[in-house]
Each structure stands twice: as C-alpha cells, then as structure tokens.
C-alpha cells in the first residue's frame, strides 16, 4: 500500500499548474497510482473552476471583440489525442514509463556498478529530473541532500532506515534527512532534485562524484 504522498500544498500547486514540469511529472506519476490523491487533485480542480464564477469577484467588461472573429475564422476541429506510455529496457527488464513522460526526451543511460541513470531533458536550470535504476542487491551509500530530493518509485521495491516502499510512493527528502536506500529485487525510480547528493559516511565520502552522476 502507498504510504507516502505529496503534501496538500504541493497537490494544490500541481492542480493549478504552478509547479515546474519535473515536479509536475513526479506528482502525476504518483497520482497515476494513488486514487486518493487523484481525487484530491480533481476536487481541487473543480473548486478552482467554481471560483471562476465566484459572485464576489468583479470582472472587467470585454470590449475588444476582434479576437472572437480571428478564432472562429478557423473552422477546423482538433482531434482527440491520447498519450502513449513509452517503455525502456534496462538489463533485460522492460519497464513501462509514466504517461507524463511520453513527450519528453531521455538522455542515454550512464552506468556505474549496479546503478544506471538517464536524464529527463526538461531544461529547468537547477532542478534536475532523472530515471534511476538500481539492480537487485544494489545500494546507494548513506547520503543527505543539499536541497530537496523527490523520489517516486515506479517499479520494484527499495527500503531504507525509514521503512520499505512500493510503486507510487512519493518520498520528499531535504537536508535534514539522511538515508541509504537499498533494493533486494531491483527498482526503477523517478528522482527530482535541486542539488547533488552528498555522501556522509566514512569511505563513501570518496564517492561524492557518484552523487554528481546521479544528480
């Protein structure tokens, strides 16, 4: 069962289209799996739409009608489009990706030991999104995050000091959280972070370049 959800304020910002694309994709990968949050988003959307007709708000009268003619002079109708979920094959396992990623380019996979990552090309400056694959038996050494890091588990399982996670879990971590995720059967995650991982323990501090790789 999914235990980790986006916060209320994140869902509200999502429903209003105010989050960066990377975070919107992460929230949508969660709501694809979580009917509870999906209903929340739809209800927020309906409330926002109702607010459009809020009796206490005064709207200006619209005088310039030239836009109407310009729009209606085009008689063609748009066809319904449906997002096709794409899939990736990593070391022989086929994974279906969230629909929200279907029009987005992925970089080629960079591999390092049991880790592999592909960048999601969104061009959002300091906020980076990645697909991260950890092979069965793989671990990411104990680390913290200099900024925030969101992980949405897409397939498989992993666990850390705080428990175990199932597909759909939306995990938000910041500087104050330290963890070392490991997976028994392997997993595919979507991660969104605004800074590199920072390894905190002994020898693995020498691994800080891995943090850059994953970020």
């Amino acid at each position: 069962m999914i235990k980790h959800h986006p916060s209320q304020s994140l869902l509200l910002a999502f429903s209003r289209g105010q989050l960066p694309a990377s975070l919107s994709i992460a929230v949508s990968a969660h709501t694809d799996n979580c009917s509870e949050c999906m209903h929340q988003v739809l209800a927020l959307q309906e409330s926002s739409a109702l607010f459009l007709d809020e009796p206490d708000t005064e709207f200006e009268q619209w005088h310039d009608m030239s836009m109407i003619d310009a729009i209606t002079s085009d008689e063609s109708e748009m066809l319904a489009t449906k997002s096709q979920a794409s899939s990736v094959n990593i070391k022989g396992t086929e994974y279906t990706l969230p629909k929200s990623l279907s029009s987005v380019q992925l970089s080629s996979w960079m591999k390092l030991g049991k880790l592999a990552r592909a960048k999601v090309d969104l061009n959002e400056g300091e906020v980076h999104a990645n697909l991260l694959h950890i092979e069965s038996g793989g671990t990411i050494p104990q680390h913290t995050h200099k900024g925030f890091e969101v992980t949405v588990l897409l397939a498989g399982e992993f666990h850390d000091e705080n428990g175990s996670y199932v597909p759909g879990d939306f995990i938000w971590l910041n500087e104050s959280n330290t963890h070392s995720p490991q997976t028994t059967e392997g997993c595919l995650c979507l991660t969104v972070a605004n800074d590199a991982l920072h390894f905190t323990q002994g020898l693995s501090m020498a691994l800080n370049p891995i943090g850059k790789l994953i970020y």
Partner: protein, 209 residues
C-alpha cells in the same frame, strides 16, 4: 419524509435561487458549449468568450504578472475551446471544470516556454484532457458517509455551500485552509458553513423529530 423532499429538491433549487446561481450559469454555459460543438455557432461562442475571457485574463495576470502574456493565454485558451468543443462530454463534469483545465494546461505550457525556452507541450500528458476524470463530488467520499441520506441532502445545497461542507467535513480541511484553497475570506467560508448547516439541520429536524 425525506424521500419526498428529495424528489422535489431540483425544482426547489431553481425556484429559490437568485439570478447569479451557479446551476443557472452552469445550464447556460452547457447550452453555449453544446451549440458551439454541434452547430459551430459563432454567436454561442461569443457568449462563452464574453463570460470566460475576463476570467482567463485575471488568472493569466496572476500567473505571468504581465498583461500581454495574459492576453495570449486568453487567445490560446479560447482557440482550444473553439476547436475542441466537440470533445467536451457533459457527463464528465461541469463546463467550467473543462474550460478551467484547458486554461490551466495552456498556462502551464506558456510558463514553461517563458522559463525554459522549450516549445514542447507536455501539459496534456500530465493532465490528460480527452479522458478527463471528475471527482464526482460527493460520490467518492461515499465511504465516509454513514448515512446515504446525508449525500442526498447535500445535493440540495447550493454549490458554494456544498463545497464548504465537503471541504471541511469530508476532506477535513480547516476553515483557514479551505479559505486559502478557494481564495475566499475566512468570513465567507464561515457564513456559507452557517447557512449550509442551518439548511441541513432543518432537513434533519424534520425527519428526526
């Protein structure tokens, strides 16, 4: 007793409600959207435009803090409404929700273009429009309802009061959170709550006494 109330409540609602009542507006918007979709009626589209354009502009100014971009959002959104009206399904929710979703998607893609210089349109992948889901208001909170009658009674409330009751009692928001969410003063939430509770109490009273 209750059941006879229920059968008449639709009628009662239209009789007692004022000219700005949302269900009346809802009917009118549905009618216009229907005429645009089936007859390609330009006059119905003009009505939709006159109602929606100032609202989009206001939303756009909040989103972009720039009038020219807000007007571009009006143009883009209304163009999509004109060209996609045949895709609107009445049973999939209020026309306002449908139009709001188009506006939100357009605004998201525009913001993205402004901030990242990318021309891709990914909003329709994040919030699919074609099989748009609706929360079915109260239906999804059915499990939380001990008594189905409450659901039927809720249906007799005006939309804005129903929203407050659902927010506070079924989604368990605080009055402050709900006010923020709906962009309303807390006082308005409180007064709607009072009106709604009075109405519900009257109905309950009739059947309980």
């Amino acid at each position: 007793m209750l059941s006879s109330n229920i059968r008449t409540d639709k009628k009662a609602m239209t009789v007692t409600s004022g000219p700005r009542d949302q269900s009346a507006m809802h009917q009118e918007l549905c009618g216009w959207l229907h005429d645009v979709a089936t007859l390609r009626s330009k006059s119905a589209f003009s009505e939709l435009f006159k109602w929606f354009a100032p609202r989009i502009k206001q939303f756009g100014i909040k989103q972009f803090n720039n009038e020219a971009q807000a007007l571009e959002l009006v143009q883009e959104t209304m163009t999509n409404i004109w060209r996609k009206s045949h895709l609107y399904k009445r049973e999939r929710g209020a026309p306002t929700t449908w139009m709001y979703s188009i506006m939100r998607n357009m605004s998201f893609d525009m913001l993205r273009k402004i901030q990242t210089q990318r021309e891709d349109t990914i909003s329709d992948d994040i919030w699919p429009m074609e099989n748009m889901l609706v929360s079915e208001d109260v239906d999804n909170f059915e499990d939380h309802l001990e008594n189905k009658n409450i659901k039927t009674m809720l249906a007799t409330l005006p939309e804005n009061q129903k929203q407050v009751i659902i927010g506070l009692y079924f989604q368990q928001a605080t009055q402050e959170q709900l006010a923020k969410q709906l962009n309303l003063p807390v006082g308005t939430v409180k007064s709607r709550l009072r009106l709604a509770l009075n109405k519900l109490r009257n109905q309950l009273g009739e059947s309980n006494d």
